[in-house]
């Protein structure tokens, strides 16, 4: 079967009076894997259930290719779903578990045997046919669940945090298995996760969902470096603070000055601003672009002290090849700065606990959003 585009158009969902999804529009291109990223409770599982046909949307439409599947029942959608829990049928052995979907489709026994064997080979569990679910480890169970979903050759594959119950090393192994199978089978896939690292590892495109709204869709590096809203910035580890524009100013060198609890900061506007004095704005500071410098002499000019913030080293974790500093800013906000050994060409290469230093923020590391 050739892969189909999954198209979600203006999807809304509500539990009673509570709105869970608000106008979500998302395309997953044929054979593409998109990671649906967001905190727990942001509505991502609801969205997945709507695609699977397990929940009806209150508004909006689901297309598989050109066909409208909004009102097609789950049993006839032909989607493969793997949930966080393996949900294997406990009274069936591995073979019958994997064959379940084929049995429901009335596929002949001989073909079933062949396809189950193929699926077990794909998840590297050949010879496990007669095992019972209770005899499998967590990782094996989840691989059987994956095989059970893939064996039916689904139009769309939906994965709902399938590895979050597994331990770290197994999770990495499972990620590469899913990544390989998804590419080999060229299957349109939506991968739900709350783990930005997992999303970036698996997907070329991330859709970030927050509070029922799709805030940004794009390549992982776009979400990391140019977050569309303060919420996205916050999720990806930026420090988000409030501020006010210093004056009605024309945008020069992408620099706009704001007064904040940290002092006067110059940053880059990320969204259109009304641009009048005292306009309230959000400022997002990217720790990855922050540099630590020794406290400067008092005699420096204004220009040189731009975005130079006094701070104290709160914690130091030395990983050898890189060092992680947690610094406390004057506003009591904490910034975690990860530096590789040769990253800072300052006079000194290491800083000590409780040492008073300054952090220097390049203008690109401070994004300004309208409020």
């Amino acid at each position: 079967m050739t892969a189909l585009t999954l198209r979600l158009q203006n999807i809304a969902a509500a539990y009673g009076a509570q709105l869970v999804l608000e106008d979500v529009t998302l395309d997953v291109r044929a054979g593409e894997l998109v990671a649906l990223l967001g905190r727990s409770g942001c509505g991502k599982t609801t969205l997945l259930k709507i695609v699977a046909g397990l929940l009806p949307p209150t508004r909006g439409e689901v297309f598989f290719g050109q066909e409208n599947f909004t009102h097609v029942p789950a049993a006839r959608r032909g989607v493969g779903v793997v949930f966080q829990k393996p949900l294997l049928f406990p009274y069936l052995n591995v073979f019958d578990n994997i064959a379940f979907g084929l049995k429901m489709r009335g596929i002949a026994k001989s073909e079933t045997r062949m396809r189950v064997a193929e699926a077990l080979h794909a998840v590297q569990l050949e010879g496990y046919e007669s095992r019972r679910a209770a005899e499998l480890s967590g990782g094996q169970e989840q691989r059987i669940a994956l095989a059970r979903a893939l064996v039916t050759r689904p139009r769309v594959l939906l994965l709902d945090e399938p590895f979050s119950a597994l331990d770290a090393s197994l999770r990495i192994e499972m990620r590469s298995l899913v990544s390989r199978l998804q590419r080999e089978l060229h299957i349109t896939t939506l991968f739900v996760t709350h783990d930005q690292h997992e999303a970036a590892t698996l997907a070329a495109r991330i859709a970030f969902l927050d509070d029922g709204r799709l805030l940004q869709t794009g390549a992982p590096r776009d979400l990391y470096l140019t977050p569309a809203t303060p919420a996205v910035a916050h999720f990806f580890g930026w420090l988000v603070i409030e501020g006010k524009l210093c004056a009605t100013q024309s945008v020069t060198d992408n620099g706009i000055r704001c007064d904040t609890a940290l002092g006067r900061l110059t940053g880059t506007p990320r969204s259109p601003l009304a641009n009048h004095k005292d306009e309230s704005v959000w400022l997002a500071i990217h720790p990855a672009q922050v540099r630590i410098v020794t406290a400067p002499e008092r005699s420096l000019t204004d220009d040189a002290t731009e975005n130079l913030l006094p701070a104290t080293i709160e914690a130091v974790v030395d990983f050898g090849a890189r060092v992680t500093y947690t610094v406390r800013l004057r506003s009591n906000d904490l910034l975690t700065i990860d530096l590789s050994r040769d990253a800072h060409h300052e006079a000194r290469t290491t800083f000590d606990m409780d040492e008073n230093i300054c952090v220097s923020l390049p203008r690109e590391a401070v994004l300004i959003f309208h409020k």
């Binding site: 029942p73 049993a75 959608r77 829990k85 039916t152």
Partner: protein, 281 residues
């Protein structure tokens, strides 16, 4: 050297204490067994007794008269046995059919008035059967359900359905409905989901619930008497008839007949649950 002996002594003491605990358990179990087994032994002896009057410890003469009479058609015991079995089977099947969806909803769904519903379900279990049956009799008279098999089945359902429902509800309590959703995504329609997912998961609870429904129906006396009005004659009815007539041997033989299916049900259910437990491991 000294430590070794101390250890050994300590070990011996624990062993002895363990033995005492063991003996206690065995003694308790034996006492319990006696309470159950002795009356049965007594029933067996009494059913074969010819003359067995008060001071004698054992009957002076034995006979198979009572058993022959029970087996003969003139006693009506065989007919009553079949009637009891038929009613119990019908009641069991109906109870389970009603209890299954009810128990699932009770265990897994939240809805308004759920607590009131549970209380109403418990009511037949709490209310004295005599009082309840009086009211039911009134109602059934108007509905022309008295003196009929249908009426007896219905009145037996009154205590059987709540028991079956509450038992199944407890076995549904740990049921993960996500597994039903998973089955649906794999192409199972509503019927397939029940057949391949929900029912197998409920099977052990179902067996227990069915056994209870069967046993409750099997041992109904008052309700059968009131609603059946001697037109529907079950085993307990003729058993009490013989007991009142003072035929001790026949009463004993019938009691044993009455006891047998309950033992069979118990053994079958115990086996079923055990097999299911070993299956899921």
């Amino acid at each position: 050297m000294t430590t070794t002996t101390t250890n050994q002594r300590a070990q011996r003491t624990t062993t002895r204490r363990f033995d005492i605990a063991n003996t206690g358990t065995i003694f308790t179990l034996a006492a319990l067994a006696c309470i159950t087994v002795i009356p049965i032994v007594f029933l067996v002896v009494a059913s074969f007794a010819r003359h067995w009057y008060f001071p004698a410890l054992a009957p002076r003469e034995f006979s198979t008269r009572a058993w022959e009479y029970v087996a003969s058609s003139s006693s009506g015991a065989t007919t009553a046995l079949w009637m009891s079995l038929a009613i119990a089977f019908i009641v069991t099947i109906l109870s389970v059919l009603i209890a299954l969806p009810a128990a699932r909803a009770l265990a897994l769904c939240e809805f308004k008035g759920k607590r009131i519903l549970v209380f109403l379900l418990m009511l037949p279990v709490i209310a004295p059967p005599l009082a309840a049956t009086m009211g039911v009799h009134h109602l059934f008279l108007r509905l022309d359900l008295t003196d009929s098999l249908a009426g007896v089945v219905l009145v037996h359902l009154i205590p059987c359905v709540p028991y079956a429902t509450l038992m199944l509800a407890s076995s549904f309590a740990n049921f993960d409905t996500d597994i039903e959703a998973q089955a649906r995504t794999l192409g199972a329609n509503a019927f397939d989901v029940w057949r391949y997912v929900t029912l197998p998961a409920a099977a052990p609870g179902l067996a227990v619930a069915a056994a209870f429904a069967f046993l409750i129906s099997w041992s109904q006396y008052l309700t059968t008497l009131f609603i059946g009005g001697n037109q529907v004659v079950t085993l307990p009815l003729i058993l009490i008839g013989f007991q009142r007539a003072g035929d001790e041997a026949t009463t004993s033989a019938l009691s044993l007949v009455f006891l047998l299916p309950t033992l069979l049900v118990f053994i079958v259910v115990a086996r079923f649950i055990k097999r299911d437990a070993s299956k899921s491991i």
